[in-house]
């Protein structure tokens, strides 16, 4: 209960997107990552931030903070998921949109190892 109250209070103090002191993108730039794309101001790096975010790594999309392993959307992964060959381009197209969305958008997150700082 106390944690919930604290979380609510902290959420109220979170600054709106684009008006904070520190901004960062949702895509990591460390080794093996696809790099920061767009440089869109997406969130704040303050103690009050509790909003999670989707993060994208290459073609992976996940909620920030979700540490589970993910599939990459390549032909092998699609075959493993039994996606019909005719539908694969369409499936990739849709996943790429979600990936792009995640790459430039803050919807969540506090502690992702793939987030990179990007001063405004």
């Amino acid at each position: 209960m106390a944690a919930r109250v604290a979380a609510d209070a902290a959420a109220k103090t979170a600054l709106p997107v684009g008006r904070s002191r520190h901004h960062y993108t949702a895509v990591g730039a460390s080794a093996g990552m696809s790099g920061c794309r767009g440089g869109v101001h997406v969130g704040i790096a303050g103690e009050g931030e509790l909003r999670p975010r989707l993060v994208a790594r290459a073609r992976d999309v996940r909620f920030r903070g979700d540490r589970s392993r993910m599939l990459r959307v390549d032909d092998d992964a699609l075959a493993e998921l039994k996606v019909p060959r005719a539908m694969r381009p369409r499936a990739v197209e849709i996943v790429q949109i979600t990936d792009t969305f995640a790459a430039v958008t803050s919807i969540t997150g506090t502690d992702s190892p793939v987030a990179c700082s990007s001063p405004a």
Partner: protein, 131 residues
């Protein structure tokens, strides 16, 4: 995972319509399952914000998500589409029936848990996951 399930449908609903709307519907549907729109959750976002970020109309996005939910008969208990963090706390995910008695699978011996995992009765939190 969700896109793959839609793509496997015959005929697949993904074959028609704007890909952006489908992507929005997929994110919305997964967001619903993961309580993304619940402000009481640590991870949350309003539907207006989501629609704005995706560049789609909110009602279109919600309609696509509704169609996805209906097509795939999605409910709130979808281990494949739930974040591991939530899955760990979801009580219904771990309930198994042993000789007619409902038991939390996490309380069972490891070898029985492994068998339950192998049979797909309980989720494997280490398994690969994707949208």
């Amino acid at each position: 995972m969700l896109v793959a399930r839609l793509a496997r449908k015959r005929p697949s609903p993904l074959a028609r319509g704007d890909a952006r709307n489908w992507a929005a519907g997929v994110i919305y549907a997964i967001g619903q399952i993961n309580f993304l729109f619940d402000p009481a959750e640590q991870l949350h976002l309003t539907t207006d914000q989501l629609a704005h970020h995706l560049g789609v109309v909110k009602t279109t996005m919600a309609n696509k998500a509704g169609l996805i939910n209906k097509t795939l008969d999605l409910g709130m208990d979808e281990p494949d589409l739930t974040r591991a963090e939530l899955l760990d706390e979801h009580p219904m995910t771990w309930i198994v029936q042993v000789n007619g008695i409902l038991i939390d699978a996490r309380a069972l011996p490891p070898e029985i848990q492994d068998e339950a995992r192998r049979r797909g009765l309980i989720p494997d939190l280490q398994a690969p996951r994707a949208a």
